[in-house]
Each structure stands twice: as C-alpha cells, then as structure tokens.
C-alpha cells in the first residue's frame, strides 16, 4: 500500500511538471497581457515599465525558470491584475466553490439515487418512462439556459429566491460557510440545483443500470425466496452492491464540479474559482490561469488516488499495484 502511494505520488509530480511546462508555453503564445492591462491613454514608457516589472521582457524560458523556482517554494506568482499571490486569490475563492460543489453533490445523490433505484425496480412503469425522459433532458439541456430559466421562474415570476451572489456567511465548528445561515441557503439552493441537474441524471442512470443488473442475480432471488421484506432486500442487499461504481464515479465527478462550475458561477455571480479563472483568461492574467490549471491537475490526481484506495477497500478482489513488493 505504502509503495503504491509513493509511486503514484512520484508519477503525480512528473505529470504536474510536464503540465506546467505545457501550460506555460502555450499561454505565452496567446496575445500580450500588456495590451489588456495598460490603459491605452498611458504614455509609451508606462507600457515598457509594466513589461519590465512583470518580467514580460524576458524570453519565455527564463520566465519559466523564474516560475519554476517560485513554484518549488510554493509561490505560483502574483496576479498581474490584482497584484496578489495567485494561490492566495484561489484560496479566497475556494470555499465558495467547495460549498457549491458539495451541495450539488448532495442534491444529485439524494434525488438521483432513489429515483434510479425506482426506475431499475420498475423498468416498464409509466413513472419510469417519464423519469428517464427527463434525465435525457437533464443531460442535454445547456446549463446556462436552464440557469436563466430558473432565475426567471423562481426569482422574477415567483419572487421566492434571490437572483445572484452568495448570502450571509455563518460559522459552525470553526468552518465558515453560507450553508449555516438561512440567507446563505436561499442564495445557494438555485446555483447548486443548476449545477446538480446534469449529475442527478447521471446518478439516476447509473443507479438504474446497477439495480436492473443486481436484481437479476441469484443472491437477490434467494433473499426473496427466503421471504425477506422488499425494503430489507433493497437496503441490505441491493444498495451496497450498486454503490461501488456510483461512489467511484461520484469521486471523479466531485472534481469536475469544483473545477468546471464556471458556467453556473458566471450566471449566478457566485464568487467562486470559476468566475476568477474566466476573468483571468479574458484579461490574460497568466499567473492565475497557470496556477488554476495546475490546481485542477493536482485535484484530479489526488481524487484518482483516493478513489483507487477506497475502491480497494470496498472490493477485496482489487489489488493495488505495488502492493506485493
């Protein structure tokens, strides 16, 4: 186990390094940040000053060397636009994105799982057909359009929920989050649902597939023959068996929720990472873009590692590579 984790960690570092090289070189091919930063009314020497101060007058390899030196000591550079360390900016925005992704995940599982199991148990039912039809919609309707429709329905027409932004922040067990206040929840519910819709459909389909597969197996038949109540069969025999694939997928999906909540965050003006990085891309704020991409790579590498470990723990048949050395 230890050898496995060590090997994977070393691989991760190499992947991160290659990724940083790629990202750094490619982003340097796009435009010139000075055009986006310096006010056009400035005198020419101001443009030169900014170029010099931000090290943009240096060749790419020496800029990269400078970045690498900083990165090894945990400094991914300063945002051109905000003048503050890129990592600090991201750390500031991270809690907002995390709570959004977390709530979306909870919504996806609490709605998607029961519906999917129901659909798996009654594959030909009328309700099942409607649900599966809806899930196709959930997967294919663009998030931004649905977000706007939700705003129009719940905020403009019904006036129930606030349109945008993050609400009041409460503290519970030392964690600051808008989950802990009523105002915060009111702000959270719409963007979280919007973000969750795709995932609800996905969890539903996974659960349905798992259910119809497991229900046909011998141990379920034996349990039925034994006369166990239906509830008990679902709870103790069906659920644990369909959960394994769902847990693995959800682990990775949690990563995508954090990394790619951009569209939802933009529509609901949610002050999270996605909004930060979109602005950084538009303004060519290179250090923030690079730091963000490296963060996303690191996030997925970590999640993959954790999923592999959990998977091994859940299913004794899976042996981790390097386990036997």
């Amino acid at each position: 186990m230890f050898a496995f984790i060590l090997r994977r960690t070393i691989q991760s570092v190499i992947v991160l390094f290659v990724m940083s090289l790629l990202v750094f070189c490619m982003i340097n091919l796009v435009g010139d940040p000075v055009d986006m930063l310096v006010n056009p009314e400035s005198l020419p020497d101001e443009i030169e000053r900014v170029r010099r101060d931000f090290g943009l007058d240096q060749p790419v390899y020496s800029q990269y060397w400078h970045f690498l030196k900083g990165a090894l000591s945990g400094d991914l550079g300063k945002s051109y636009v905000f003048g503050r360390p890129a990592l600090a900016l991201m750390a500031e925005r991270f809690p907002a994105t995390l709570e959004l992704a977390f709530c979306a995940l909870i919504i996806a599982v609490t709605i998607g799982l029961p519906l999917g199991i129901y659909a798996g148990l009654r594959p030909d039912g009328f309700a099942t057909r409607i649900m599966m039809g809806m899930s196709v919609l959930g997967i294919s309707i663009p998030t931004f359009w649905l977000g706007l429709m939700m705003i129009i329905l719940f905020s403009v027409i019904l006036g129930w929920l606030p349109v945008s932004g993050r609400g009041d922040i409460g503290v519970f067990l030392g964690i600051e989050s808008s989950i802990f206040t009523m105002d915060g929840l009111r702000h959270l519910i719409m963007p979280a649902t919007n973000l969750a819709l795709f995932k609800i459909a996905m969890v539903m389909r996974l659960a349905r597939a798992g259910t119809s597969e497991v229900m046909a197996q011998d141990f379920i038949r034996f349990a039925r023959a034994q006369g166990l109540p239906r509830k008990r069969i679902i709870k103790s025999h069906l659920l644990p068996n369909i959960l394994i694939p769902i847990v693995t997928v959800i682990g990775i999906e949690f990563g995508t929720l954090i990394a790619f909540a951009t569209v939802t965050e933009s529509i609901f003006s949610w002050p999270g990472l996605g909004k930060l990085v979109i602005d950084a891309i538009i303004n060519l704020d290179r250090p923030v873009v690079v730091a963000y991409l490296l963060f996303v790579v690191a996030l997925f590498l970590t999640l993959n590692l954790i999923v592999d470990i959990i998977y091994a723990a859940l299913d004794p048949r899976v042996r981790l590579q390097g386990d036997d050395t």
């Binding site: 010139d32 056009p40 009314e41 400035s42 051109y80 929920l161 606030p162 945008s164 930060l276």
Partner: protein, 531 residues
C-alpha cells in the same frame, strides 16, 4: 405515523417555506446596485481602469472633478489658473477633512502625487498624469504645479488622481483593500470589500459638497446581463448599469422600472491602412493576387464610409442603442465640431468613387475585429462586410478574442508593425481633454514624443500635426480647443479613420430612485438619488 415522525415532517415543511419566503427588504436607506464589472482594488492609485476610477470617485476626491459630461468642476481645489507660461496655481478648499478626521492641506496633495506615480505591481499606473510635473507648496491651501513645457491640460491630468491623507503615503495596496488606509474626502466612506461578492459604502455626513441620499450602498458585481436585469426586476437590487439590449424593450414597458439612455463617448471606428507596408495579403485582386492597400487613395476610404449603412446597423444590429458618428466626440461634448456629421448611406456614390479610382471591378478584402469586446462587435463586422460586398468589395470577416486581437492590431506584422489592412476597434476619451484622441490616433506616429501610439494606418498630415502640437502648447484653452476642432475636421474629411457609431449607455432602476447621466458610460453612485 409516530409523533416524532410527524414532528420531523412539520419541521422540514417549515424549513422549506422559511427558505422560500420572499426576502425581507433591507432598510429604505440602503441602496443596492448591480454593476457589470468589479474594481481590481480599492487603492485609487493601483490600476488606471475605468471601473476602479469610477469607484474611487465615490470615496476619494481629486483636486479637480469631472461632471457627467467630463467638464471640469471644482473639487478639492476651488479655483485654478495659469500664473506664467509653465506654471499653474491651485487654490485649495478649506475646512475639508478626510474620513479619519485628518485635515486636508497642500501637503496631502504632494504626498499623494509621490505615491500615485509609483505604486508597486501596478498593471497601469497614474504616472502618465504626474510625471514631468513639479509640485510646490506655497501655503497650506495654495499649490503650484510647474511643467517643463507649457501644458494647458494640468487640471485635466490632476482630475485623474485621487487625493489621500499624507499619513498613508507609504500604505500598501493591501492596506487600502482591507480598509486600513482607505480614507478619502469623498461623498461615501469605504465600509468593506469582499472580492467577487460586494463592496459596501456608507454615507460621509461631513461631505463638503452635496450630501448623498443613502446611509449605505451595497455594490454587487453581476457580470451576466440577463442576470442583472432579473436582479432588478425581482427587487434584489435597485439599480443596474449596461442593460442587455435584448432586455431593454421589456424593461421599458414594465411598471415600476425606469430606464435611462444617453449617447456615450464610446466610439466604434474602422482604420483603413494607408501605406504600402502590409505584407499579409488581406487585400487581393479578384484572382487572389495580393495588391497594395487601395485605401492609400482617399476616394476608396470615402467609398467605404459611404457604403456603410449606419442607420441600418443601429436599427437591426444594435436594437437602437447606437448613434451614427462622423467624429470622435458626440454632440455637446468637448472637441465636437458642428461641421462634421456621419456620412449618409450612398452605395451608388461609393461605386462611382471606386470606378474613378480604377477599381470598378472591385477587389477582395479581409476585415478584422475583436469578438466580445464591444457591444455586438462581431455582428457589426458581419453587417459591414455585407455592405461592402454590395458595392463590389468582396469582404470576409475574421474575429478573435480581444487578448489576441490587440496584439496583432498594434504589432502583429513584421518588425512589430500593425498587421491588419482594415480593422474595427473602439475608443472612449477618459481624460476629458479634447486633444486626447488627436494625439493618440491622428498625429503622425512619433514614439519618443508620445504621439500617435494608436495611429495604426500610417495617416500623416503635417498641417494637422502642427495644429495638434500648437493647440497642446496654448495656455488659453479656448484657443487650443479651436485648433483641435480644426484638426478634427481636416483629419475626418481625409478619413484618417472611419467612424461608425457612438454606443448608447444604458441604466435601469426601480422607480423609487432617479439617476443623472451624461456622455460617460461609467456609473457614478453618488448621482443616484432617492425620489
């Protein structure tokens, strides 16, 4: 159903309804505003960016202020006048205090200028307005500013620099963002900033000018246009800027909502290349052989201008939110010439002009522009391409993100020369001085003197250059403006660039408030009034 089960259900239902009940409105003294952009810092000297500057005017004052049409009005200086060829004297306002209680004197001005010229890590500093000026304290309330050469625009330059308390001359940008140093003399006090979420201001009861109507203001960045409209209609905010054009007709019809529109000083223009240089074959004859830019001939430039149907662009592309333009300034604005107007749509005349110049069979052209930078920019370019094709210039459009466009636009060609033969871009005069667009776009490019940094098509007219330079050296501002208007007329008649339209700036609010607006498309919170 057991009792505990029942209780739990009641609790859940209560919770759901609690969450869903409409928001209790904040107190009537609080104004909530939804803006399309967010400042990058509260430090007024960190970043010369439109949104930063308009936010800074809420908390800070400059010596000279600009009204909504960029006319100069007294700020922390009550009067100013030249006292010699190269020196200005400013009489400062007495009895003004900063939000922290410190008294305002000439010392604060000098300390401000020293700091503002060189803020570390600034992505676009205020040095442009300060460098080359010497500040001399005569007494507590009198200040002299000297320049090396006569400079009639010292008051304009100083209207751009927010004055801070000299006690914070060494404060960092972070000190301003956290509020430790954010003390100005402006109509509002800084109360807090959560980046991405909200900027909060409170009333400065001791303001020297007209007091604001609000005890506090919450400013939220809402970048998506439709979301902004929804936030206004649902009552989340009381005031928004930049209404999405598609939402405007609905908002105008809606009860309880007021819409404000004014022709802004944001100009959309095209540059047509006037030298032999461009190597990239963006112009070819009809059998695809590269040809030198035909726009060296004024008749071709005029033909392009007459081939463009500006009214149709305004009607069908801009939803009425643009006004056809024939010069940099909109009417009623500094530097405006009553003798210039937008060319009328006249495709027949355009064809005649082309035939006269030997292009009766037309040619092929690629035009370039940014996508998503200006309102409807891509659609405008496509409309123009169709219009040009109709008079025989077979035109294709190539757009790209602004970050890519501006680099290629200014130096994408060989030896860092401009790359495009014909490109569309935008301009808004931030300084409020009439020579500004002439210095940047019209004067012959002379890098070391700061002339012509935006002159990308090689336009050069010695007579126009002289008018611009002379005007910029006249301490008599009225005489100077006459020279600038003459230079504007001459260069526009030669199509130094082809103006398309001025964008209309839009705002909307609940009918409980009113807004005073002008040619600037920024939003000035202190002009939002309680009815």
């Amino acid at each position: 159903m057991t009792i505990s089960n029942f209780k739990r259900r009641v609790l859940i239902i209560g919770l759901v309804f609690g969450i869903l009940s409409p928001a209790a409105h904040l107190s009537a003294d609080t104004l909530r505003v939804g803006l399309a952009a967010e400042p990058t810092s509260v430090d007024p000297h960190y970043h010369n960016l439109t949104i930063n500057n308009s936010m800074a005017t809420q908390v800070f004052d400059a010596l000279v202020l600009q009204d909504v049409n960029q006319n100069l009005v007294p700020g922390l200086a009550v009067s100013w006048a030249p006292v010699g060829e190269t020196t200005w004297e400013f009489k400062l306002r007495s009895g003004v205090t900063f939000h922290n209680g410190a008294a305002f004197t000439a010392k604060d001005v000098v300390a401000t200028m020293k700091r503002a010229a060189d803020v570390p890590n600034s992505p676009s500093s205020f040095g442009t307005f300060i460098k080359g000026k010497t500040f001399e304290i005569v007494d507590d309330l009198t200040l002299r500013v000297s320049t090396k050469k006569p400079n009639p625009f010292v008051p304009n330059d100083l209207s751009r620099v927010a004055i801070i308390d000299s006690a914070f001359a060494d404060a960092t940008t972070e000190d301003f963002n956290t509020g430790k140093a954010a003390f100005g003399t402006g109509p509002f006090k800084f109360a807090g900033w959560l980046p991405g979420d909200a900027l909060t201001l409170t009333k400065n009861a001791g303001y020297w000018g007209q007091a604001v109507d609000w005890e506090s203001v919450v400013i939220k960045p809402i970048k998506d246009g439709t979301t902004r409209t929804a936030a206004l209609i649902s009552g989340d905010v009381d005031f928004i800027e930049r209404v999405a054009p598609s939402d405007l007709p609905n908002l105008e019809k809606r009860n309880g909502i007021l819409v404000y529109k004014s022709v802004s000083n944001r100009l959309l223009y095209m540059t047509l290349h006037m030298t032999n240089d461009p190597v990239k074959p963006y112009v070819t004859d009809n059998s695809d052989n590269p040809i030198p830019s035909p726009f060296q001939d004024i008749r071709l430039r005029q033909a392009v201008s007459m081939a463009i149907n500006r009214e149709a662009i305004s009607d069908r592309v801009m939803d009425g939110l643009s006004a056809p333009a024939g010069q940099f300034s909109p009417e009623g604005y500094i530097g405006y010439s009553p003798n210039l107007s937008a060319d009328d749509y006249n495709p027949e005349k355009a064809k005649e002009l082309m035939a006269e110049a030997g292009f009766e069979d037309g040619f092929k052209l690629t035009i370039h522009g940014p996508a998503g930078r200006y309102s409807n920019d891509t659609r405008i370019l496509e409309a123009i391409a169709q219009m040009l094709s109709r008079v025989g210039i077979d035109t294709t459009v190539e757009t790209m993100p602004a970050s890519v466009f501006f680099k290629r636009f200014s130096r994408g060609g060989p030896n860092k020369t401009p790359e495009f033969t014909v490109a569309m871009s935008g301009y808004a005069n931030g300084s409020g001085e009439p020579s500004h667009p002439l210095r940047i776009f019209i004067h012959t490019k002379q890098k070391d003197r700061g002339y012509g940094p935006g002159n990308r098509n090689g336009y050069s007219n010695a007579e126009v250059d002289k008018l611009i330079e002379d005007g910029r050296a006249m301490m008599d501002i009225a005489k100077g403006e006459a020279a600038f208007i003459k230079a504007t007329e001459m260069s526009m008649q030669e199509y130094a660039l082809v103006p398309i339209h001025h964008e209309l700036a839009t705002w909307a609010s609940s009918d409980a408030v009113t807004y005073e607006h002008g040619a600037l498309d920024s939003t000035f919170i202190h002009n939002i009034r309680n009815k």
